[in-house]
Amino acid sequence: MSARFGRTELPGQQEKALRSAIRIEWWTIAFLAVAITMVYLVMGSSQAMKAAWIEDMLSLAPPFAFLLAVRLVNKRPNAKYPYGYHRSVGVAHLVAGVALFTMGAFLTFDSASGLISAEHPPIGGVVLFGQTIWLGWLMMAAMALTIPLPIWFGRVKMRLAKELHDKVLYADADMNKADWMTAAGSIVGVAGIGLGLWWADSAAALFIAVSILWDGCKNMKASITDLMDTRATTFDDGRPHPVTEKVDDLLRGLPWVKEVGSRTRDQGHVFHIESFIVPRPGMMPSLEELAEARDACIDLDWKVQDIVLVPIEELPEEVGGPDRNRQSERNR
């Protein structure tokens, strides 16, 4: 697969990051397949183990969404999809967010009702090598085995998400954190049952469920605002993305430019930018000057893939123009 996002050829560093990301997502899927099987075998009737198991299953969604999305965004824009396929990333992100939210809500209700009706979870024994041992020990061992790898996955993915400006990858890194938190939480729950505290299991399950719910809310909010074309932010939604300002600064430095303001849409990996430019009086740019300015902007950052320069007599209000109550561009 040639490394590209739509029309954008990826620079060497990002291309390497993309390949690493694809590799680590396949490893994640392999790991989860093993973890899901292992936890299912020892799950028994522990509420916390059930919550952890469902969490593991849901953790499969972001890796698959990522792998599908990188395949789709590889296609170039065409007549039917003139803006390219970048938004598939946003759609994948939304789907993952809704799945997390729904499951979190269900598990919260389930474990809270278990706690309220004072359900005492039974965990009996299993026969291993002729010995009857308590299933709780196996549960704790299985969950302990699922802790170390997600820590590592999460750290690597966080770095790659930043490199690639990929929010699905970021959500996935976040999910890996939730994974090992869940595993540790269910160990505490099962240990509590071992000590004769019937409520420990439901309480741990509730804690896990609320953390899943919270993840779902965060991801749903982030993906919806991205699909609403909120201003472009950094990969972790921490702050406005600096590229908009860089474009404005570059254009403002051109001799024929008087005022400039840009709108940036985050398409998934790459940005679509509309820069409104008020030329200096009597210095209307030629087509060559406009093309030069456009190419300079594209050279700023690989994410600037699709930029439109709009010469205009006055800046629109949204990008720093004068404040004016008007119904449309024409009703001034």
Partner: protein, 170 residues
Amino acid sequence: MSQLPGQVAMVGGMMRIRGLIVAAALSVVMLSGCASVPADPEGTLDRVRDGVLRVGVTEHEPWVQLQGGEEPTGTEPELIVEFAGQLGAEIAWTTGSEAALMESLERGELDVVLGGFLADTPWSDRGAATRPYAETQSGDETRQHVMLVRMGENGFQLALERFLHEETGL
């Protein structure tokens, strides 16, 4: 490079999670120090030892046979008498319908209910099934036989399961 807000949040999360892992590890260490893991929330095993084992029986031949005035017989009562003997416990028998016995089990008035129950018993939300201790063949399907104990009394359940495994080898 200056630290991004996201990284700050990440570090905060790490500390919380590290705490959680330490808690998990600590509870496992604490657990392995305890002699009686798993423990019973209602202390069934401690009460039964050198005390009274309260057994509910409902007729289901050949597993449980009841004759008026006499002690219950059949494979299951025989096993439970042996189990009680190992714990030094007397047995208090209660007879009744499945529904009545399960209600008593749920309320904690009985410790174990016998009646030729199968592993896929519909009563599984009222009592905890032990590991299967016997298998029978009925046509093509294998039936797994279990006893029902009070929910969540895991120490008692494990003790019974250990006994059944040693007796029947299953």
